[in-house]
Symmetry: C2
Subunit: 333 residues, 2 copies
């Protein structure tokens, strides 16, 4: 690990799901971001993920002046030094490993460094946050957690149900992540997290990324930057300033069909609307102060106005994610 002081000022977004093109990669640069965790897959199986990786390989060829792949903490340092945006891959579901334990190491080798154990539904591993029942972590799930710990693939419980999440924190021998969610106290939502979860997560060294997806914000698109930074301050008061970051969940340049596919995958013939409200056939509207990646810089001034010191701001906007990724991406020694 590079000395943390040297990495002060590093900026990392702990989750985005965007249909990138050159303009949008340039917007990541304009945001001052050194690294972004991007969603590779929602429902795709192992074979389909190979195609998704190959599409990203084309991005790396065509935009080699703007982006580079990240598999280690050292890669983040290199991205920063060369003025590129490092791209970390993650999946919002365990579908990339099919039902095959050995695929954890194979997918890790391909650069999948985050994996949610569930999306919104019951998976082969655990329960998603939209299920009414939550049986916790399955037999397969325990093996997957141990294997993710071994190879250095980070467990992400952003969309998982409460018991499944608490069990994952407990079973994992390494700190885990909730890359994009807010405290339940800020906004009642199936996706936001209870005090029990946030305490267990942060006590074990895990990371929470605050989300800017409007459905998980206090007043949706009307939520102010001040509301958001107040929530950050409240969370810092409760759980400290070392285990929090940003996971904006910024979704850009996708047609409506994509959010419908995120919700419905291939598991239903009916249209499920999630927390967006029945019949609402559009992406939820973002707060006007966070509509694009480069709005990331506004969070910095918001945190300043909220009274955070610059060393705290550095931690929240990147240094915590950097430290966590650097430690977590290494294979278990």
């Amino acid at each position: 690990m590079a000395e943390l002081e040297k990495m002060a000022g590093v900026r990392i977004d702990g989750l985005q799901y965007t249909n990138y093109n050159r303009e949008l990669f340039e917007d990541l640069k304009a945001a001052g971001l050194d690294c972004v965790h991007v969603t590779l897959a929602y429902w795709e199986d192992a074979r389909q993920c190979l195609t998704l990786f190959s599409k990203w390989n084309r991005h790396f060829v065509e935009h080699s002046d703007l982006i580079m792949p990240v598999k280690t903490g050292a890669d983040i340092v290199k991205a920063r030094e060369t003025g590129k945006v490092g791209i970390v891959f993650g999946a919002q579901n365990c579908s990339p490993i099919d039902a095959e334990l050995g695929l954890v190491e194979v997918m890790n080798g391909l650069g999948l460094k985050f994996m949610q154990l569930t999306y919104n539904n019951q998976s082969l591993i655990g329960a998603g946050c939209f299920e009414t029942e939550d049986p916790g972590i399955s037999r397969f799930g325990k093996n997957v957690i141990a294997e993710m710990n071994r190879v250095g693939m980070v467990i992400d419980m952003s969309h998982s149900a409460e018991r499944t999440t608490l069990e994952a924190i407990d079973i994992s021998s390494r700190p885990i992540s909730i890359t994009h969610a807010n405290p339940l106290s800020f906004k009642k939502s199936l996706r936001n997290k209870s005090k029990a979860v946030l305490s267990a997560l942060t006590e074990r060294g895990g990371m929470l990324g605050f989300v800017l997806y409007p459905l998980f914000l206090k007043d949706g698109a009307e939520t102010s930057l001040e509301d958001f930074t107040e929530m950050v301050a409240d969370t810092a008061d409760r759980y400290g300033v070392d285990n929090i970051g940003i996971g904006s969940d910024l979704c850009r340049n996708w047609p409506y069909e994509v959010v419908e596919w995120m919700r419905n995958g291939s598991w239903t013939f009916e249209t499920v609307y999630g927390e967006g409200g029945a019949g609402v056939r559009e992406w939820p509207k973002q707060p006007e102060w966070f509509e694009k990646a480069s709005d990331f810089i506004k969070i910095e001034s918001g945190l300043k106005r909220q009274g955070f010191h610059s060393t705290e701001i550095d931690k929240i906007l990147g240094l915590n994610w950097y430290r966590f990724m650097d430690e977590s991406f290494a294979p278990q020694s």
Copy 2:
């Protein structure tokens, strides 16, 4: 690249297809081998290859004192320095990339560093040596060759037909390989190679690995070590000593069903016997002087008796493969 003099004495087998276990990995060590190109797949598609990679990952975990994966020339140096046998993966067919150009880079990233453009049949890329017609390299094939050149995956034409092979040598911007075959002049076989092929191959810096699979030897299992080393000497006289090595094609610890599957895959409902002879339901018998990997050391004394100098022997038994792999595995600059 490590200075070639420092690598004098490196020993590399340019192809084996063995069902390895601890005892057989120990036999690679006993052979003095620093690196072996092993066959990962014959007919398996992209998804099935992921499972094959995951099986090898278990070998690397369970026998980490004996073997390590090799993706670069530097890895071969490291294997030699740490007293391990480096394992390079290859496929005997282009099935690992399905019909998808982007999978060349994905498979290369997983460590597939050799790929035959065809096995014995017509593939999506070209004709195998058992076909009666040979249309040469297809449209897809030209793109695949360019992409293999770009990422540093080596083209292997061991099982390909004549025109397809000559076109691959010509189209490829980098030297290619025939990892396991002998000159046609030594033994008439669909699998052995003409003077036209061997001239074109070696003139462009490509490598030929002499094969010890009995069907491609002068007198089958009765072929003597002296017959074999005479062929090596004859080839060295014709094409020089810098582009030849060993690709033993040693097949060990497989039931008969495996050679049947190699020949029949899923492309026929009848039993095809290849050059083994109709109705022969067993693996062909090896010469008694080459029945196991550790018999590799006998080739050294055979070459000495044939009159080769020790610097020539070093080249043939490993240094040529090392130089070729080191150069070829690097991405195109």
